[in-house]
């Protein structure tokens, strides 16, 4: 009974919905502020994303008749549930996540794809040409970045003796240093950062929601609370993807003691995630959007090749 209550608490408070949304929205706010400064604007205040989402919750929900279907209405919740569930599988405070399983890396990769699948289905169900185009572009992009992402993650798994458990990857790094400090895994780290950019639909890979071409892609017809839930889900995804990258390559949550001050694991973890988000923000502000065919070609050559090189080097040595 107490154990079950613990899981419920974990899902709703820490590291679940409350913690993840707070951090996700904060990261998104910082991302917007930083973008503003990079573009010589003042930018919105850091808490703007909270205000925006709060405002959306208070808005009327308008669903077009053509879009009013089970899939369209359920997609936001499914998307939100999936990304929050990933939080339970991630080592956040120590190397032990809330839920442990032997092969949680596979589960995480699956769960991280559910938001993408939800958005595709929502776009196709929205009965709007922009949504349909956005979804079809999303399908193509998914096939692009996913190969690089999985290959890069696999090369890390191969390094720790084909263990697909994130907690063993984190403990390995606590003893042997960050994965990214190993020469064989540097290409994979670069590959996963590029793939994460594609996964998060950020420039140069924001093709499925290119606003000057197809308005907001799959989410064009959403409004009000549903859009708010999707927005939170996206912001949590931003945090979660950064967290997965940190766990795989940048040591994960490791407590430090610097100058006699004890820094708990979760703080160092959040700082590292923040670093990844800032890097992603910088990339998104110094590039133009590619075309979908160019993006697919790019994903299948450069990042996939880098990840494959890493995998090869790790397996051979």
């Amino acid at each position: 009974m107490i154990e079950a209550l613990g899981y419920v608490l974990a899902f709703f408070v820490f590291p679940g919905i409350l913690f993840a949304s707070a951090v996700g929205l904060l990261f998104a706010g910082i991302d917007r502020k930083l973008t503003g400064h990079m573009q010589h604007r003042i930018g919105p205040p850091i808490w703007q994303e909270f205000l925006d989402v709060g405002k959306l919750f208070g808005k009327e929900d308008i669903t077009p008749a053509a879009a009013n279907s089970f899939v369209f209405n359920c997609a936001p919740l499914l998307c939100f549930g999936a990304v929050t569930a990933v939080m339970l599988l991630l080592p956040i405070n120590s190397s032990q996540p809330v839920l442990t399983s032997v092969a949680d890396l596979i589960v995480i990769i699956y769960l991280l794809n559910i938001p993408a699948v939800c958005m595709m289905l929502a776009g196709y169900a929205s009965g709007c040409p922009f949504g349909t185009t956005g979804s079809s572009r999303y399908v193509v992009q998914l096939f692009g970045y996913e190969l690089a992402f999985i290959t890069a993650a696999l090369s890390v798994a191969a390094k720790v003796g084909w263990s697909l458990s994130l907690s063993s990857i984190v403990s390995y790094q606590a003893q042997n240093g960050w994965m990214v400090s190993q020469v064989a895994l540097i290409p994979a780290a670069i590959a996963i950062l590029i793939a994460a950019q594609g996964k998060l639909l950020r420039v140069p890979f924001d093709i499925p929601e290119a606003e000057s071409e197809i308005v907001h892609g799959s989410l064009t017809e959403y409004s009000g609370p549903k859009l708010a839930i999707l927005r939170i889900a996206y912001n949590i995804e931003l945090f979660v993807v950064a967290a997965v990258v940190v766990n795989l390559f940048f040591g994960g949550p490791v407590p430090h003691t610097i100058g006699g001050v004890y820094i708990p694991g979760v703080v160092s973890f959040l700082i590292k995630c923040f670093g990844i988000v800032v890097l992603s923000t910088v990339i998104r502000n110094i590039a133009a959007r590619l075309r979908i065919d160019q993006a697919l070609k790019f994903f299948w050559t450069f990042p996939t090749l880098l990840a494959a090189i890493s995998l090869f080097l790790v397996v051979v040595t």
Binding site: N285, I286, A288, R289, R291
Partner: protein
């Protein structure tokens, strides 16, 4: 099997309403049909209902961006109808006005182009520097957008001696940043991927379809009204006509950015060569019966005004041929053969200005015949 993708009249990639019927085969574009007329303002008729002095203000309001060159073209036509010459100082003031407008228009366009390819940072930077040129227009002519320093028979305002140092400082700042932008646009990998080899307009097509301005010059057509039919003080100023050979979107970007550098050079020369003296001669109240054409090089290309006078203080007929109107046909060869994702940037690359382009023709759908609507019919429609 082809199908039609409608773009517009309302679409995020279009700043103003226009309707494209794009015939696609999968992702590839095989045909384009363009429908305009959502923004018709009836300016030509309104011009012949007004006196010349009032018409000058109306002509500046044909287009929000290129108002100076519109009033300059109108003035050029009206002055040759009336047979008067404007003073030397006014000719230089007109050059400075027109070139400041070119700088602001080209930077505005570059920002929009960056936005179309999803490069928001570059968009913001272009528009930040556009502010400099707008500030200069406000400083010299008293208005950021509707500067139009031209007046019938001269210039509307004089350029004050005390403003010139600030103008020169701003020009230096602009020159530095535009040089940097040229470097960025010709070296950034993502910009090249989106712009190079996209929306190519061959020189042959550009000549056949009568493209004008930067659209034609990017395809290797060496044509510029400022040099070929000089007006204001352009015959006393040396400058290069920027021509690129490739004809793709990247060439159009480079042509416009390099033209900004030329404009900066022109303004500097004009400031140095500007004589002292009067800025206006008297314009007669009634203009004798005559007709004339006034051409200027607007930021988007050749702008033409035809004016026919009838001895009163109002023109009998005014006809405007705006550069966007001349450039629309060239959108077809640029789009056909490309993909849907290229539509926004290719359409933007001719720098279309919809409101000054729109014309209305009444076509009988059953017989396909054109006809002219009477004033009474229009009045009835308006009710």
């Amino acid at each position: 099997m082809t199908f039609i993708v409608p773009i517009g009249p309302q679409h995020p990639a279009l700043e103003e309403p226009a309707h494209f019927r794009i015939e696609v085969k999968g992702e590839e574009i095989v045909g384009v049909d363009l429908r305009l007329g959502y923004n018709h303002k009836g300016i030509e008729q309104a011009l012949s209902d007004r006196s010349y002095a009032h018409g000058l203000y109306l002509s500046a309001r044909v287009c929000g961006i290129c108002n100076s060159t519109h009033s300059l073209a109108f003035t050029r036509a009206v002055e040759s109808v009336a047979g008067i010459e404007c003073p030397d100082r006014a000719r230089y003031i007109r050059v400075i006005d027109a070139e400041l407008e070119r700088i602001h228009s080209h930077l505005l366009w570059a920002g929009i182009a960056a936005h179309e390819i999803g490069f928001t940072t570059l968009f913001m930077l272009f528009w930040r520097d556009r502010e400099l040129s707008l500030d200069m227009r406000e400083l010299l002519f008293g208005h950021r957008i509707y500067a139009s320093g031209t007046y019938l028979g001269g210039a509307r305002v004089d350029i004050k001696e005390k403003d010139i140092p600030q103008l020169i400082r701003t020009l230096a700042k602009l020159e530095k940043s535009v040089k940097h932008y040229i470097d960025v646009c010709t070296s950034d990998r993502t910009i090249i991927a989106r712009c190079s080899g996209v929306g190519v307009l061959k020189k042959k097509d550009a000549l056949e379809l009568c493209a004008v301005g930067p659209t034609a010059r990017a395809s290797g057509v060496d044509f510029d009204i400022r040099r070929d039919d000089p007006y204001a003080a352009y015959d006393e100023i040396s400058f290069d006509v920027i021509v690129e050979r490739d004809g793709d979107v990247l060439a159009k970007v480079v042509v416009r950015l390099r033209e900004i550098l030329e404009s900066i050079g022109i303004i500097r020369q004009a400031i140095d060569a500007m004589p002292k003296g009067a800025i206006r001669t008297k314009f007669p109240e009634n203009v004798p019966e005559n007709e004339a054409v006034g051409r200027t090089e607007a930021p988007r290309g050749e702008l033409m005004y035809y004016v026919r006078s009838n001895g009163t203080n109002k023109p009998e007929r005014v006809r405007i041929r705006t550069p966007s109107y001349a450039n629309w046909p060239s959108a077809k060869p640029m789009l056909v053969g490309g993909t849907i994702a290229e539509i926004p940037i290719v359409v933007a690359s001719i720098d279309p200005c919809y409101s000054c382009t729109d014309r209305v023709t009444i076509v009988d759908a059953e017989t396909g015949k054109f006809r002219i609507m009477t004033k009474e019919e229009l009045r009835r429609l308006r009710r």
